[in-house]
């Protein structure tokens, strides 16, 4: 479980996060949604220490990450798997070496054990033949899957995903979403997903926070989000034609029920 309390961040005059509070629950996919530029990526970077916030606390199982020593922070980070927006695979290494990297740095596994773990992770993300390929030889979806394989290689307690579906076709997006959901349950991880893809929200959002201009505008589940009475959230949720159509149908059903009464 990760608790974020009163997190605020500004870049000069521009405030990007204002007093953000949220509890990311273990074994669940916790989603942060919002339009581009609302502070979602800044939040995730503050939580892993890539950006220093002005104030607030990030509690990993009760311990504040921001006040920890460098060595303590390193110990927490070893338990974090992160999927970056652009995958962030090491382009000078093969897929196998990419996944082996955290194993080499943090475990005393033999070469054979590491190779077996790499193959297990590649099988898990459905890329059993990709070990010897370089990132430049992979498609966007394959890169994301390799990044997931690298993230789960050391069996982390926390999985952070920064826009895992960006640049992917809808079918591959669904595959990635399903993979994140399955892995979260399999490893009983605390998963945080940053997204503005409503398909992901409806597919994997166990717990959702909606960010707007740095403020947490709404919090709830994927069942509640479609019926939420928040104008700003509704504009975001029903931005796509598909969901607008769904809302029209929903409204028509509501109207007919009212008439029936």
């Amino acid at each position: 479980m990760i608790e974020v309390r009163g997190l605020s961040k500004a870049f000069g005059e521009k405030v990007v996060l204002k007093d953000f509070n949220f509890t990311f629950e273990q074994g669940k996919s916790n989603l942060i949604i919002g339009e581009s530029g609302t502070g979602k990526s800044v939040l995730i970077k503050c939580m892993v220490g890539l950006i220093l916030p002005e104030q607030g606390q990030v509690l990993y199982h009760g311990k504040d990450f921001l006040t920890m020593s460098y060595e303590e922070q390193k110990e927490v980070r070893k338990q974090i798997g992160m999927l970056f927006q652009g995958s962030a695979l090491f382009d000078s290494m093969t897929v196998e070496d990419n996944i082996m990297f955290p194993l080499t740095m943090f475990t005393n596994m033999t070469k054979g054990e590491k190779e077996a773990r790499v193959q297990f992770c590649l099988d898990r993300v459905n890329l059993p033949q990709a070990a010897k390929l370089y990132p430049a030889e992979l498609s966007g979806g394959m890169k994301k899957r390799v990044a997931i394989a690298r993230a789960i290689a050391v069996k982390p307690r926390y999985l952070f995903c920064d826009e895992p579906n960006s640049g992917l076709d809808p079918k591959t997006s669904i595959l990635i979403d399903e993979l994140i959901k399955e892995i979260t349950l399999e490893y009983d991880m605390t998963t945080l997903v940053i997204t503005h893809d409503m398909n992901s929200v409806l597919e994997i959002g166990d717990k959702i926070a909606f960010l707007h201009k740095g403020n947490k505008e709404w919090e709830g589940t994927r069942k509640e989000i479609l019926y939420a009475e928040n104008e700003i959230l509704s504009k975001f949720v029903y931005a796509t034609k598909f969901l607008q159509h769904f809302r029209s149908k929903l409204q028509a059903e509501k109207d007919s029920l009212t008439k029936g009464d």
Binding site: L50, K78, M82, Q85, A88, M105
Partner: protein
């Protein structure tokens, strides 16, 4: 650039060095990367250093012969002048300036590209000290291999001066060899190698600083690479003056 920005950059550079010189996560990983960098920085630069050294040695010899066209100056002075030029300045400084261009831009663009594609963030998030993992092997490899590269440059500079100088007819083999042996001071080689050790530190560390803190996209990676070369050369020339003053004056 205003003075406050310069001071800020110097401060940030030393803070980065503080992170670079932390104990590596795993010594076997460090040594693997160290030998990889020795190969990339040192062995990879030998070709260009060899070509430049041979031809510069020849040019220095021919220019010395051209300048010493007086019956009062013995012909072996050509070898002597070529020797001192090569050992004192050409091999340690000019070759280092060339390496600042080749190695410095390569380091800055590699790290800059890793920064903008979030690869450095990925290393940090995993709990690995990215500065130490990426930069320390480069600095250690440069400090280790630069003296060898410069020594090879000195040797090839003399070979170039001898072969092409004799072929051009500006000096005889006997006089050139007598000249390079005449009043030879081994301390000059020590001085040159001490300078090289400093340059071996300056080039990768200044270049890595510019690459590591790249912000933006591919355009900024190119700009970082250019800045890395320019600032490496400026710092290198400054230290060249200071070290010469300290060691020879």
């Amino acid at each position: 650039m205003n003075p406050i920005a310069i001071i800020a950059h110097i401060g940030q550079y030393f803070l980065l060095l503080g992170r670079v010189f932390r104990k590596p996560e795993k010594s076997n990983v460090f040594w693997t990367r160290f030998f990889h960098e020795v190969n990339a920085i040192g062995i990879g630069s030998l070709g260009i250093v060899a070509i430049i050294s041979i031809f510069m040695g020849a040019v220095i010899t021919i220019q010395a012969a051209f300048g010493f066209e007086s019956p009062w100056i013995p012909l072996y002075a050509v070898g002597l002048a070529a020797r001192d030029s090569i050992i004192l300045e050409f091999s340690p400084t000019i070759v280092s300036l060339i390496l600042a261009g080749k190695v410095g831009s390569s380091i800055a663009s590699e790290l800059g590209n890793m920064r903008v594609s979030e690869q450095i963030d990925a290393i940090d998030v995993m709990g690995v000290n990215s500065a130490s993992y990426l930069i320390l092997p480069k600095i250690a490899a440069s400090v280790f291999i630069f003296p060898f590269v410069v020594t090879i440059s000195m040797f090839l500079g003399h070979i170039g001066g001898f072969v092409l100088g004799v072929a051009a007819g500006v000096v005889t083999p006997y006089e050139f060899i007598y000249g390079i042996q005449y009043e030879f001071r081994p301390y000059n080689v020590v001085y040159a190698l001490i300078k090289t050790l400093f340059f071996g530190f300056i080039i990768p560390s200044v270049s890595a600083y510019h690459g590591y803190y790249t912000k933006g996209g591919s355009l900024e990676v190119g700009q970082s690479s250019t800045r890395a070369v320019v600032y490496s050369i400026i710092v290198l020339l400054l230290f060249n003056f200071l070290l010469t003053q300290l060691l020879l004056a």
